[in-house]
Symmetry: C3
Subunit: 268 residues, 3 copies
């Protein structure tokens, strides 16, 4: 545990020193809020979906985020191309399979990117991760005793099959590369009352990957940092509006030392 929290603090420090460029092809709902999260944590956001400029954009990015929250055909094509370019150029690739399981289009789009361009990290909520595992025929069936356990098993099976780090986030976050696994218990219930907080956690992971730490450790660190900001933000919040304002401030203000002291990351 001590190792993982110290690593989280180092990842935050290295990420901020690098000021990594994070390119997102993401949903319309969270473009503004995730750009602001990236700026507040010390990264540099770019949004671009035009096929004509993807190669140039990916080439200047440290990490690429594909978020399938508001799909349409031309955007899906751009996502696939950006994912392939990311792999070809050895960039960190992070997939956020928003709504996988809710519709065939979303499940298929996420599954295609997952299998054709192995992301560095996949982050989703429990049902999204379980849907992705089911789409690949890798669910363990009925041997899990609750939803968290099921999500963790689904995450492990995806990780083992694809080689991606998989994070199933919720009240507790499970992060696994298939052999090594962590549970992060930072966070606050108000995070579920603001739109796009999962998407915001995803871009935070993308930025942390630029620290060049091991992706599984960097992802656990990013989620602890993000959840800790939620805890700080809730202190003087009167509801979801002031909570989100405080959240951006907290992401900006949390120091590596604070993160080392307050992160709750456990190997499992």
């Amino acid at each position: 545990m001590a190792d993982a929290t110290i690593a989280a603090a180092e990842a935050l420090e290295m990420m901020r020193r690098k000021n990594p460029v994070v390119h997102s092809i993401t949903n319309y709902v969270v473009m503004n809020s995730t750009a602001n999260v990236l700026l507040s944590i010390g990264a540099a956001p770019i949004m671009s979906h035009a096929m004509e400029e993807l190669e140039e954009i990916v080439s200047i990015a440290n990490s690429v985020v594909i978020n399938i929250g508001t799909l349409s055909k031309p955007w899906i094509e751009s996502m696939n191309v950006a994912a392939r370019l990311s792999k070809a150029m050895e960039k960190n690739l992070v997939l956020d399979p928003v709504g996988a399981g809710a519709t065939q289009l979303r499940t298929n789009t996420a599954h295609e990117i997952l299998t054709q361009s192995t992301p560095t990290v996949v982050r989703g909520n429990a049902s999204e991760i379980m849907s992705l595992a089911a789409a690949g025929g890798t669910t363990r069936g009925v041997d899990s005793v609750n939803r968290s356990d099921e999500a963790f098993e689904a995450a492990k099976s995806i990780a083992q099959k694809t080689g991606a780090v998989v994070a199933a986030t919720g009240a507790q976050d499970f992060i696994t590369n298939g052999s090594e696994s962590y549970v992060v218990s930072n966070g606050h219930p108000l995070l579920s009352k603001v739109t796009g907080t999962g998407c915001a956690a995803t871009v935070t992971i993308a930025a942390f990957l630029a620290s060049d730490m091991d992706p599984c450790v960097a992802t656990a660190g990013a989620l602890a940092y993000f959840g800790l900001a939620g805890e700080h933000a809730a202190k003087n919040a009167n509801g979801p509006g002031s909570f989100w304002v405080n959240m951006i401030d907290a992401l900006y203000n949390i120091t590596p030392d604070q993160l080392a002291r307050e992160a709750r990351i456990q190997p499992i």
Copy 2:
């Protein structure tokens, strides 16, 4: 009046208990802010416009919102399909005719949805509602003495012709199903200094419809609740920025009891 305010409080309580899924095909400007409004009031937002997934999305929604604020051809097609699916699946359908009257494209798009897929509720400002009434040839002409009266007459004529509940909102909100009518006088001038507050009122109506109350009563209740949140938000606001933060907090915090006490809804 007492009946309508008590009904408003009940609608709020029933809506929150149900945590209704509200699917929006809406304009880019307000996607984030209306998603946050839905979360703060106790509903669950989904945004999706891809033709390929509309049937699955509408099927899991309690209410569907069509908002024409930033149109383009493929989006208009998706709006028409979503509106038809909503009717076929007996979902609550709410139309927000943003900018009707300003351009032919907007007037025609709104009029087509209004006449082909009778929304449960149409909410617009005075000029939008008057434009829609004129597009259907149902305006009463010059017999009204001011803009509010004109808007109310236009709302009544649309309601009588189509069977939709129509809300013409402004300093006072007029809600009518063609026979029964209400005026709501909650609200605050700062609501006009933040973008998308009309759109936010619309999604609040969509959520209230899931209470299964009479749509005319539920709409009046939703607008009283929304306006009341504006009054609470203004108390410690220094301008439109802090006002909107307070607004999200107020929508989250207002209880059914407060609404019963402070709602100003009158039958007319």
Copy 3:
């Protein structure tokens, strides 16, 4: 200097009296935030990109903003048409060449609008303005001693070649029409930690142009006002989240008298 600050105050007062309609074809990331900036300063935002309604929309606008932050082919076509319509209808046209220099698509799109529909004002950061000057073959080469100087020289060469007012903004803002030039030194470092603050400065310029002041003077005034709001906003900010809330409040609250006293505009 005194003249320019007094002119800035007059432009603010005249703009607010007119409540100008500002039509934007802009990037998805900043649609909400720039609409809120326009409302807070006293202008009226419209967003529309549908070819079918551009003529009607431009005709009711006082100023038109073209911002190339998230391009795609149909949007580029709409931008070109809106730019041509703006010129034909003698509207104020403002170009924000977001990311010019980063990709060919952005450089070419901005350069095409710049040369085919001479904007009233072009506002970009140093590298965007230098890229645009280079795209037109008008850079002065290596005779400048630092990046600010280079940006100013690039701005002057574009202004002289095209007749547009050009603003290269940053820690200091340089505004020039090719012969007359100003430097504005209002602002705050937190402006660089919030997404779309450059885009927000651009729409503020578009609104100020509706004051019918000389465009070079109006642009300097708009940037002083915007930067001053940043200074006020920073006073009680705990980070970029509360800073932006305060910024909207400050834009709403700053009076022409305050601007006359606190604007730092110098002819150069």
